[in-house]
């Protein structure tokens, strides 16, 4: 039941509000028009009563005043309203066993008139009964010779019989619907604006603030949102500055240590010290790359993504001379031009490739150009032969400084910034990167870029 309602209900707040308002308005209109129609029925009935009783009385008088042998011809000449039949008979048409006529029906004919009046006009006897929706009234003429029989076929009352009713209903509903749709759209626009602003803030902390105008509630919400965005901005800014300062300040001591290492006598210790320093430098560089939004400062230019993939793979292979050459393979077009920031994109891809090579012993890159008939999207798939990452941690590794203890030890190094940096860069390009385990084993990183 709930599921059904959910399926039928429109999804937007504006459409829902409009639908509810419209249904309520239609109900109110229907009720009002019904009251109006019932009033009309009462009027109709009163008019009919007056007409009928007048005709019946006229008929009765004609019969009373007419000579007994002239009565049938007089009756035949009388014009009777539709639904009313009259006849002269020795017997009343009212049969025993007929239902008694209800008073509101009887009022149509008002037989009491026939019983009133001067004695020479007065009916000797009046009988009434109902049969199959038809009122039968029989009145014995004052001379007692014959019965004047009346058969009134009740015309059905038609409260809805009015073209104006339907037209009015439709017109009012349509006018109200237009107003309601306009008003609800207007009313829910701030909600849409808020959602849009929140989305923009998610992509870029420095997104422009929301305009703080409109009705009080809306401007209050916008102000609250802007305050929140400002706090987030300050928080991110402080953290970035701190990281940048640490990274920057560490470069001088690392440079000194590298120089000092040159004066060490022990060649083996010197090499070890230099390799430690290289590692520190890599960490500092990663931290700086993450902290500083380099990607934003670099201009976007057309670049050959296929060449970029090859460069990254060749450099990764060169840095690992003992890995088999087939561990670093490229598959895809010879050339694929996209717009992007070359240094940032290279860093993102290099991070993905380094991750695959360090933890998965291989990095095979597949570049998938946009497919015809699908979203204009380029896919960059980097797969390895490692143990993969448990599904529940596949998102967590994109958090800065997060490393998986089980698979990542000191040997493989890294600060836990490679994937967050890659994701930041790709998202800044309007793309993204996600991880998943391959059914054949190993991890697959799927990076997407808008074509």
């Amino acid at each position: 039941m709930k599921g059904l309602i959910r399926r039928i209900l429109p999804r937007t707040l504006a459409a829902r509000t409009a639908l509810f308002l419209l249904l309520a308005l239609m109900a109110v209109q229907a009720a009002g028009l019904t009251i109006h129609a019932l009033d009309r029925v009462d009027l109709q009935r009163a008019a009919m009563e007056r007409e009928m009783s007048a005709r019946v009385f006229g008929l009765w008088r004609s019969m009373v005043v007419a000579l007994p042998d002239r009565r049938p011809s007089v009756l035949a000449e009388l014009e009777l309203p539709t639904g009313l039949e009259a006849g002269l008979d020795d017997q009343p048409w009212v049969r025993s066993g007929m239902l008694p006529a209800p008073p509101e029906v009887l009022r149509m004919v008002r037989p009491e008139i026939l019983l009133g009046g001067p004695p020479r006009w007065r009916a000797r006897e009046v009988q009434a009964g109902m049969g199959f929706g038809t009122l039968y009234v029989a009145a014995l003429l004052p001379d007692g010779s014959q019965w004047v029989n009346l058969k009134l076929h009740m015309p059905p009352l038609r409260p809805w019989h009015s073209e104006t009713f339907l037209i009015a209903f439709l017109l009012m509903t349509a006018a109200a619907a237009l107003l309601i749709v306009w008003a609800t759209r207007r009313l829910t626009r701030p909600v849409r604006d808020l959602a849009r602003a929140a989305n923009a803030l998610g992509r870029d902390v420095n997104a422009p603030p929301m305009p703080e105008d409109g009705p009080l509630e809306v401007s209050t919400a916008a102000h609250a949102f802007n305050t929140m965005a400002e706090r987030i901005r300050r928080f991110v800014g402080d953290r970035t500055q701190m990281l940048a300062a640490i990274g920057h300040d560490l470069r001088t001591p690392i440079t000194r240590l590298k120089l000092r290492a040159e004066f060490m006598e022990d060649e083996e210790q010197r090499a070890k010290m230099l390799s430690d320093l290289e590692e520190m430098e890599a960490m500092v560089n990663a931290t700086l790359a993450f902290a500083r939004d380099d990607a934003a400062a670099e201009p976007s230019v057309p670049l050959d993504l296929a060449a970029l993939c090859r460069t990254v793979l060749d450099e990764a292979a060169d840095a690992r001379p003992y890995a088999p050459p087939e561990a670093f393979a490229y598959e895809g077009p010879e050339r694929l031009t996209v717009r992007g920031r070359p240094i940032a994109l290279k860093r993102a891809l290099a991070n993905l490739v380094a991750n695959a090579a360090n933890y998965g012993n291989a990095a095979r890159v597949q570049l998938v150009p946009p497919q015809v008939g699908q979203a204009a999207q380029i896919q960059l798939r980097v797969e390895d032969e490692g143990p993969g990452i448990p599904e529940e941690s596949q998102e967590a590794v994109f958090q800065p400084f997060r490393r998986l203890e089980a698979s990542r030890n000191r040997e493989t190094g890294g600060v836990g910034l490679g994937l967050p940096i890659a994701r930041n860069i790709l998202r800044a390009h309007g793309g993204d990167v996600v991880l998943r385990n391959r059914p054949e084993g190993g991890l697959l990183a799927v990076a997407t870029l808008p074509a």
């Binding site: 001088t252 440079t255 000194r256 230099l274 230019v301 670049l303 050959d304 090859r310 060169d318 031009t337």
Partner: protein, 239 residues
């Protein structure tokens, strides 16, 4: 015997300055140090320097301003010490006429290799050394040495590894001249920090691939029988 080459080291960190001086002296250079641009200006007329190693980030007058002043005085080779990521500074530095740059924290041996390469280029190829051209065109392709990038005929940037870039630079600087593997090894070792032991052939085949040069029937980088390569294209330089 030729006198030891004289180096002017300008860096605001005293320890780095002194360690660098000691390191370079150990390598057979004569070293004068300066704490910042003002001191360097004073030291400039006092010696005949063969090369200047200049820190880009200094208190007071920036390294860029000092480099500009230095260029107006002389065409002494300049090696800049930059911080990682200061891409724009590096480009401006190269446009101003710095000959090379090394990112801090640098490996001293890499710095030494760069110093030697820059000096060899500056003094080996005649007294008047060309500043890095902004663009070198060949066969529809554009190499931009100042920005250290390659553009394909459509204008899209084509990424190169360090080795590929150095090899391409060597080739476009000597168009239509046969370079043997030994010559290439020699020319490249001067630029490339660390060993460039990977076969030249591998680098050439990678480069051909990026240049969309058919490996079996190359039109840009041709193989010469007897072991050598030649860039078969007209080269046009823009300052």
């Amino acid at each position: 015997m030729e006198p030891a080459p004289h180096i002017l080291v300008v860096d605001d960190d005293r320890e780095i300055r002194d360690l660098l001086a000691r390191f370079l002296e150990k390598q057979g250079f004569r070293v004068t140090t300066a704490r910042e641009a003002r001191e360097a200006r004073r030291a400039w007329p006092l010696g005949r320097y063969h090369i200047v190693v200049l820190d880009l980030m200094m208190p007071g007058e920036s390294g860029l301003d000092f480099a500009r002043w230095l260029r107006s005085q002389s065409d002494v080779p300049i090696v800049m010490l930059t911080a990682m990521g200061e891409e724009t500074d590096r480009i401006v530095g190269l446009e101003l006429g710095a000959d090379d740059y090394v990112a801090k924290p640098f490996n001293p041996r890499e710095l030494l290799a760069r110093i030697r390469a820059v000096m060899r280029r500056a003094h080996g190829e005649g007294p008047r050394r060309d500043p890095l051209p902004s663009a070198i065109r060949f066969g529809g392709w554009v190499l931009e040495p100042q920005r250290r990038r390659l553009l394909n005929p459509d204008g899209a940037e084509v990424s190169l590894t360090g080795g590929e870039y150095e090899l391409l630079t060597v080739l476009v600087e000597r168009p239509n001249r046969v370079l043997t593997r030994d010559m290439l090894m020699d020319l490249l070792r001067g630029r490339q920090a660390g060993p460039f032991d990977r076969a030249i052939d591998v680098a050439v085949s990678r480069l051909r691939r990026k240049l969309e040069d058919d490996g079996r029937n190359p039109s840009l980088i041709k193989t010469v029988r007897g072991g050598g390569y030649v860039l078969a294209a007209d080269v046009e330089r823009a300052a």
